[in-house]
């Protein structure tokens, strides 16, 4: 079911005693099932925008619609239960076991005991934590990465329509971070949930997002696909932001499925394959290694999603980033 799930219309936020707007006339539509990353430097208003969506912050100006309804008219607690919220500090309840943490919202919705227990096990498996081992542990008995996984499971507990994630992997080492990113992408593919994901890491934003929102000083600079942001930056700010990335860097942060096109014919078994979320640099490597004119893009289950032709990769590599005129 496509269609807009969130419509943000002319939304601004000015905190008390603050002169500048933390969020300044932002208008954005989010379609159901989108994975959107929000990227910007510290203080650019990412968290504020997210917190206005789940009504932790009141809007100074503008409107936000959830499934066509103005969120201002919704009962706040019931509305928030439809939104999974993951924060950087995780905020697990230290006095509750992992299973109890996951059960908080289902309990509040008066689910039955068995249903809650089954859901907790299901979600722990989804985030790759063996339920038998972890469900009765307390948060203090988990590593940071494991706590973050539990935070994700807890946010998914009542099957929310949309997930708001505020720098959830900020405090995690690079390797674990990549593992968690891959898991999150897999979960997104599996559940089809809409995700709004805040990060200040450009690579993370491109790796995860189908679309990326670039924010600066409370304003949206560009809301577009990673490909367009890299090759067609909308203004000087974005151009500068991506300018440091040379072509190899760009190929590293773009996913294979960002340039793949659907295959028309019956798949040919001899054509080499790459995973959908493999970086284009890996695709380039595959081309050079095999000499094939075409490569298939497949999902984790081995289903073919599309193909990339050598020509199309080559044309990217020869693309010069527009917006060079912004630099004198």
């Amino acid at each position: 079911m496509a269609g807009k799930i969130i419509e943000i219309r002319g939304v601004s936020k000015q905190f008390k005693n603050a002169q500048a707007y933390a969020v300044d006339h932002v208008s954005i539509d989010v379609s159901r099932g989108d994975f959107i990353t929000i990227m910007g430097t510290s203080g650019s208003g990412k968290t504020t925008l997210l917190k206005m969506i789940n009504r932790i912050h009141e809007l100074t100006d503008g409107n936000i619609f959830f499934e066509g309804q103005n969120i201002h008219d919704l009962k706040v607690e019931a509305y928030r239960k439809k939104i999974g919220y993951v924060i950087q500090q995780i905020g697990l309840f230290p006095h509750m076991t992992v299973a109890e943490n996951i059960a908080v919202v289902p309990k509040s919705l008066h689910w039955g005991k068995d249903r809650i227990a089954a859901r907790a096990s299901e979600l722990l498996s989804l985030v790759h934590l063996e339920p038998a081992i972890y469900k009765d542990r307390y948060p203090s008995q988990l590593s940071g990465g494991q706590q973050q996984r539990v935070g994700l499971a807890r946010a998914l507990a009542a099957d929310p329509e949309i997930m708001l994630m505020d720098e959830p992997f900020g405090a995690i080492d690079a390797i674990t971070r990549q593992v968690l990113q891959d898991e999150l992408l897999a979960i997104h593919r599996k559940t089809g949930k809409t995700v709004l994901f805040v990060t200040h890491d450009l690579h993370e934003a491109f790796r995860l997002g189908d679309k990326v929102i670039i924010m600066n000083e409370g304003r949206v600079q560009q809301y577009d696909t990673p490909y367009n942001i890299l090759f067609h930056p909308a203004n000087g700010y974005v151009a500068k932001l991506v300018a440091s990335e040379d072509i190899i860097e760009k190929l590293k942060v773009l996913r294979a499925d960002s340039i793949s096109t659907p295959v028309q014919v019956t798949p040919d078994g001899r054509v080499p394959r790459v995973l959908a979320n493999a970086p284009l640099s890996a695709v380039l490597g595959k081309f050079m290694e095999t000499g094939a004119p075409q490569i298939y893009v497949e999902d984790a289950q081995g289903r073919i999603e599309g193909s990339i032709l050598w020509n199309s990769l080559q044309s990217i590599a020869s693309l010069r980033t527009e917006g060079a005129e912004y630099f004198v």
Partner: protein, 211 residues
């Protein structure tokens, strides 16, 4: 030495009565002050200014010497246990308010933000999150207030509130050391016992909150 034990065998009935009276005062004081301190402390978490004002006010009252406090209240509520309970409750209130506000602010803000963000209501957050996490801090305040009340209740004997203080002051006034010694043993024994029991409870709740 023989006088010491013969006193007890002769007067154990009265000693027990005084001990129970003492416990009664301390019990009523704590009951009342806890009933006030938790809701007031909870409300104070919503306003830094109100919190500073109320706690500042009680800290001033706390600094008034107990005999002076009794003397002031005498004019309004007369001699007896009632005045003692009111006066001691004021002292206990200060200790409890401080521990209740400290308890609430000991709950990490990320935990509160997460619970708000996931759509829990105020009451749910209070009973499922804040109370269990703040309980050990509350209880340490209750423990200190209890010990302070045991001591203050002994002094309150001067305004005819009964309790172990009777034994102490009779001993002092009649130069009867055995009474003084028993008074000391009973009152400090009571304080030790309560401290021990509440300390155990506190450790238990700490374990529950931060396993």
């Amino acid at each position: 030495m023989t006088g010491f034990f013969t006193y007890a065998t002769k007067h154990w009935g009265r000693m027990l009565e005084l001990l129970l009276q003492h416990l009664e005062i301390v019990g009523i004081v704590l009951g009342i002050s806890i009933c006030f301190a938790i809701p007031i402390g909870y409300l104070l978490t919503h306003s830094k200014i109100a919190s500073a004002f109320v706690i500042g006010l009680f800290s001033v009252l706390y600094a008034v010497p107990s005999l002076a406090m009794f003397a002031i209240l005498l004019r309004f509520t007369g001699l007896g246990m009632k005045t003692a309970v009111i006066a001691i409750s004021i002292y206990a209130q200060y200790i409890l308010l401080r521990s209740v506000t400290a308890g609430f602010s000991s709950v990490e803000s990320s935990v509160l933000e997460a619970s708000r963000g996931m759509g829990l209501g105020k009451a749910e957050i209070l009973f499922r999150i804040q109370f269990p996490l703040a309980a050990p801090v509350f209880l340490s305040g209750i423990r200190i207030a209890t010990i302070a009340s045991v001591g203050l209740a002994a002094i309150a004997s001067t305004i005819h509130s009964g309790g172990i203080g009777d034994l102490l002051f009779e001993g002092i006034n009649n130069l009867y050391p055995v009474k003084i010694v028993w008074g000391v043993i009973l009152s400090s024994g009571l304080a030790f016992a309560l401290n021990f029991g509440l300390g155990k409870a506190e450790r238990y709740l700490t374990k529950r909150a931060h396993p």
